[in-house]
Each structure stands twice: as structure tokens, then as C-alpha cells.
């Protein structure tokens, strides 16, 4: 996918620009972050890499996600049960739709959010800097019993 390749280059370049070394582990992690459609978890990333990179440590995955997060190049979807998920393609806040059965997470198109943010700023007198919107439900596959 062309946009994924571009994201890959962007993140690698940003790592270089900030004086970080480009290790094989880093490359593998960034690749998965930008190639995944389904918002992978740390465990998922680790498992994928370990298949053909058996020495990959879980700590390295965590460390690099923290690093890439600090560069603003991955969005962390933290869930209270600890099952955090990551979006390396759209590293800015955006709404998500979560299937509570198969744990799939997709990006819907929603434009009314900006309007909503302004509403909230006027009403509450907060300066809004960030937001998080999740819808939880059952995807069409799971509704059809294709679990």
C-alpha cells in the first residue's frame, strides 16, 4: 500500500532526525504499525515479529511505542482493561468503532466532531486540547455469526 510506505518513511525519517538509531527491531515495529489495518496491540505486534525474529523482546516493543508516541507518530488507544491498541496511520485523535466480540477496531468517517468540540468549549469554558470517542458494538461479521 502506497500510503503505508509513505508513513513508514515518515516515521523512520523522524527517528533519524531526532538522533535515534535505526535498528532491525525498530524497522520491524514501524512496519507493523503502518501496515496493520486493525489497530494492533503490543502483544499482537510482538507475536507477529517474533515469528521470524525470535529474539525480539516484549520490552523493546513497549519502549519503541513509547518513543514513536513521543514523536507524535502513533495514536495510542488505551483501554482501561489494559488492552491498548495502536494506529500508526492516523496518529491524531479520531473516532473509533470497537467490536466487543471479535475486538476489531475500525475508523469511521465523522465530521460533526469539530462542531461538537466548539459547543463544549463554549458551554464549559474549558480549552479543549484532545478528545476520545469510541463507539462499542457488534460488527456485521459477528452479527452474522461468523465468529
Amino acid at each position: 500500500m502506497i500510503t503505508h510506505k509513505k508513513r513508514f518513511e515518515t516515521i523512520i525519517q523522524k527517528l533519524k532526525d531526532n538522533g535515534h538509531k535505526i535498528t532491525p527491531q525498530r524497522i520491524a515495529i514501524v512496519k507493523i504499525l503502518v501496515d496493520s489495518e486493525g489497530h494492533p496491540s503490543v502483544e499482537n505486534i510482538h507475536a507477529q515479529i517474533k515469528t521470524d525474529f525470535p529474539t525480539m523482546s516484549l520490552a523493546t516493543v513497549y519502549r519503541n511505542i513509547v518513543l514513536i508516541k513521543s514523536l507524535g507518530e502513533v495514536l495510542e488507544l488505551g483501554f482501561p482493561d489494559g488492552s491498548n491498541r495502536y494506529d500508526g496511520n492516523k496518529p491524531y485523535p479520531h473516532p473509533h468503532v470497537v467490536c466487543i466480540k471479535c475486538k476489531k477496531i475500525v475508523d469511521p468517517d465523522l465530521d460533526s466532531l469539530d462542531e461538537m468540540k466548539k459547543e463544549v468549549e463554549v458551554e464549559t469554558e474549558f480549552k479543549i486540547l484532545n478528545h476520545r470517542l469510541d463507539f462499542f458494538g457488534i460488527c456485521s461479521d459477528c452479527q452474522a455469526g461468523k465468529v
Copy 2:
């Protein structure tokens, strides 16, 4: 506050109706859940009660919140960093505005959410059952440097 008293009675009654005993610990926890304006944390609830009920165990607070949650009478706002907060007055999903400085959480009035939910259902073919909307920012007090 009249609405809080009503909520208190509602929850106590529901506990009775479901065969649960009304203990002093339970009463204290429910009181705080319905009297708090600011979405208290477990630690906060525990600390408040311990002042004049020194034997109150943290485990009891956790246990009772799980119980009241299971009866649908408190909304849990789980945050990925483990700083969960509770709303005993509006136990159904609703948007929140979180101050990232003083950790205050308020309930804004927002009506466009239902519309948004329908939009998402049409677009993604999910059956939406629940949602979570948080805005993060800085409250007017913190903006004024009243920290």
C-alpha cells in the same frame, strides 16, 4: 440535594431488591457516589470514608463498586492509566470533559451524540450498544492559574 437523596434511595432499594444486605460500609459508599459532583476515584471514596470510619477496607470499596456497577447504578469511567472515576448520578453513558491539570471531570450538555451514533451505524454496519466520549483540556480555573 434532593436528586442525590433520591438516587441514594434508588440504589439502596435496588440492593435490597436483589437480596444484598445493607451494611454501614455500603451506605457510606453509596452516599459518596451520589453526593459527589466531581466523579470520585476509588482512592478518593476510600479516603473520604476512612476519616470517620477507620476500619473501612479498600477491598470493600472495590467490591461494592463492582456490585453497584452490576446493578447498573453507577457509571465507571475507566482510564488507561488506572485512574478510574465514577458517576453515581448519571449511570448511563454520557460525554465528559476532563481537566488535564486538576483532574476535575464535568458533564457537558450535548445532544448531537444520538445523531452521530446513527450515522456510525449506517456507515460501519455495526450494531452500536455503547459509547464513550471524553474531551480533554484545561478548565477555566486552571487557565486562570488558580491551581
